[in-house]
């Protein structure tokens, strides 16, 4: 395997490699240290945080689908205070980008948590979740209306002192309107995509499998949709993009980068193969060799020409 430099610059954020793990699939970063040293990753994104702890939805919360899964966790999280008091100290010594995913119920809450997260030195960047399909307030309500998106991004832009990344919903007619609005309000990057709204029915019980009725579809099943949206956003905005959706191999990483992603996030596949983050980071150089590429940055957007 060649000794390639895999560093990418995601705006002001330097990532030692483009392999990051996605929010809600990687805990608060420590869960996976029993499998591998998370410092081998380009970074990780925490489970979505809110000001107050959140209990989440009633079970059943997950369900397998063809080459994917549905989840309706409902943003269960320990809340900002516990994150600061318990998780941040435990992350000492982790040598990788720590990106904190967050959400609020109101614009004011979004702005407040963004302000407070900005005070934590260990935090490398913030990822605003305006696209969670599994909660009543907040989440997707902000992410499926362009004006609401502009408003909440603008508010967080004012309070955030860290690179601010906005995570977009794929459940819209035209994702580029949202990408453009985020760029206009000063977002430093985009995360494309969150989950597609889906459902499953238990034919024996004659009711939806998930207690929340609908859930978010993730996994390789959605990769073609995610890739298309990254492609569209890359054509539309200049800010860097995290490509997210069904990544399961180093080849997938390259596909997303060629579509226009500067880096990627791996989600559901962490569950199926808990070593996947390290495995992909480790094998990326050899796949780059195979396609005759010497610099990782040479492939970003390469499929557009």
């Amino acid at each position: 395997m060649s000794d390639k430099n895999l560093e990418v610059r995601f705006g002001e954020l330097r990532l030692k490699n483009p392999v990051v793990t996605a929010s809600g699939t990687f805990g608060y970063g420590l869960t996976y240290s029993k499998f591998y040293d998370v410092s081998t990753l380009g970074g990780f994104v925490t489970k979505g945080l809110s000001l107050k702890p959140k209990a989440g939805n009633k079970p059943p919360r997950i369900c397998e689908t063809a080459a994917g899964m549905l989840n309706a966790i409902g943003l269960q999280n320990i809340g900002l205070d516990k994150f600061i008091s318990q998780k941040i100290p435990a992350l000492k010594g982790v040598d990788t980008a720590i990106i904190v995913n967050f959400f609020g119920n109101t614009v004011e809450e979004y702005a407040e948590i963004s302000a407070r997260l900005s005070e934590i030195p260990q935090v490398s960047a913030l990822e605003m979740n305006i696209s969670c399909p599994n909660v009543k307030e907040g989440g997707i309500a902000f992410g499926s209306d362009v004006r609401a998106t502009s408003k909440v991004v603008s508010a967080c832009r004012k309070t955030s002192k860290k690179p601010l990344i906005v995570k977009l919903s794929p459940n819209v007619t035209d994702i580029t309107e949202f990408a453009r609005a985020c760029e206009a309000e000063g977002a430093d990057g985009l995360s494309v995509i969150n989950t597609l709204v889906g459902m499953a029915i238990d034919i024996n019980k004659r009711r939806p499998v998930l207690s929340n009725i609908t859930g978010g579809l993730s996994g390789p099943a959605i990769k073609p949709v995610a890739l298309r949206m990254v492609w569209q956003c890359y054509k539309t905005v200049k800010i860097p993009i995290f490509g997210i959706g069904g990544i399961s191999s180093p080849e997938d990483v390259i596909e997303f980068m060629m579509a226009g992603a500067t880096a990627v996030q791996i989600g559901s596949m962490n569950f199926v193969d808990p070593h996947i983050g390290k495995r992909i980071a480790d094998t990326l150089p050899s796949v780059l060799d195979r396609i005759g590429e010497s610099h990782i940055s040479g492939i970003i957007g390469a499929a557009h020409s």
């Binding site: 805990g27 869960t31 059943p60 063809a66 989840n71 982790v94 569950f271 199926v272 070593h275």
Partner: protein, 265 residues
């Protein structure tokens, strides 16, 4: 940060796969790489295919095992596509296993009389428990329930291991006619009283066992089942509600074995 990073990956080779009847089978596998120690009641996550469908790993209790994890057995019931794939594996086949995960059945300090109430494949963890935790002062009783005598797997093996076995069958073909919970109540009514009750099986059965134990003032530990995406605390998909609080805990990490008073089965 933990140092033995990949200890939880177990590439295994199947060494035996025996049908037990009625769609159940006993799968035994040997890890290829240095494994981690296993405790009775823990489970692993098995990848049933190396393609993307079926997508998620399947959780399986470790049944009989070598304490250092160098041989692990599973008692499995074929219920869907994943277990069907597992049922046709031949010796020599490779399987991708991660684990072990979760809390096991731990015998409370000072407890001597241990009753185990099992339904169906719920006997699985008790094989590992009684074969690996043997102490002169421990007195094991297994109450096992099934539809019919042919599904009372391993009754003889438990007896050979010195376990007192009480059976219940719905069709009356062996032991008490009816549910295993009737057998449990009957034993308690005889004036017997264990120091702890362990239970594993279908949720309605475990719920009934937990109630009986609570009424009798006996500590009860139940091994829960839940749909799992990861098995190690990352997805928050497998949760169960805490008793008396609007709070959820993961079955895979806080459990699967819980003190029955603490959660809503």
């Amino acid at each position: 940060m933990s140092e033995n990073h990949s200890a939880l990956a177990m590439d295994c080779v199947v060494i035996a796969n025996e049908p037990l009847g009625d769609g159940h089978f006993h799968l035994v596998a040997e890890p290829v790489v240095k494994p981690v120690a296993v405790a009775p009641g823990q489970f692993v996550m098995i990848r049933v295919a190396n393609m993307l469908d079926p997508f998620l790993r399947r959780p399986m209790s470790v049944a009989d095992f070598a304490p250092d994890g160098s041989r692990i057995g599973f008692v499995i019931k074929e219920v869907g596509k994943g277990t069907r794939i597992l049922s046709i594996l031949s010796p020599g086949a490779k399987i991708d296993v991660v684990g072990p995960f979760g809390t096991g059945f731990a015998i409370p300090d000072g407890a001597k009389k241990v009753w185990m109430v099992a339904g169906g494949t719920g006997v699985a963890p008790f094989l590992g428990l009684t074969e690996n935790i043997k102490r002169a002062d421990l007195d094991y009783t297994l109450l096992m329930g099934a539809r019919s005598a042919s599904q009372l797997f391993y009754a003889a093996r438990f007896r050979d291991n010195g376990v007192n076995v009480i059976t219940a069958t719905e069709d009356g073909s062996d032991g008490v006619k009816g549910f295993v919970t009737s057998a449990l109540s009957a034993e308690l009514e005889k004036g017997m009283k264990p120091d702890v009750i362990f239970t594993c099986g279908p949720s309605p059965m475990m719920r009934a066992v937990a109630e009986i134990a609570e009424d009798a003032g006996i500590v009860c530990h139940a091994s829960l089942e839940s749909y799992m995406a990861c098995g190690f605390g990352a997805c928050l998909g497998c949760v169960v509600k805490k008793r008396g609080a609007e709070q959820y805990v993961t079955v895979c990490r806080t459990g699967p074995v819980f003190n029955a008073l603490e959660i809503e089965i």
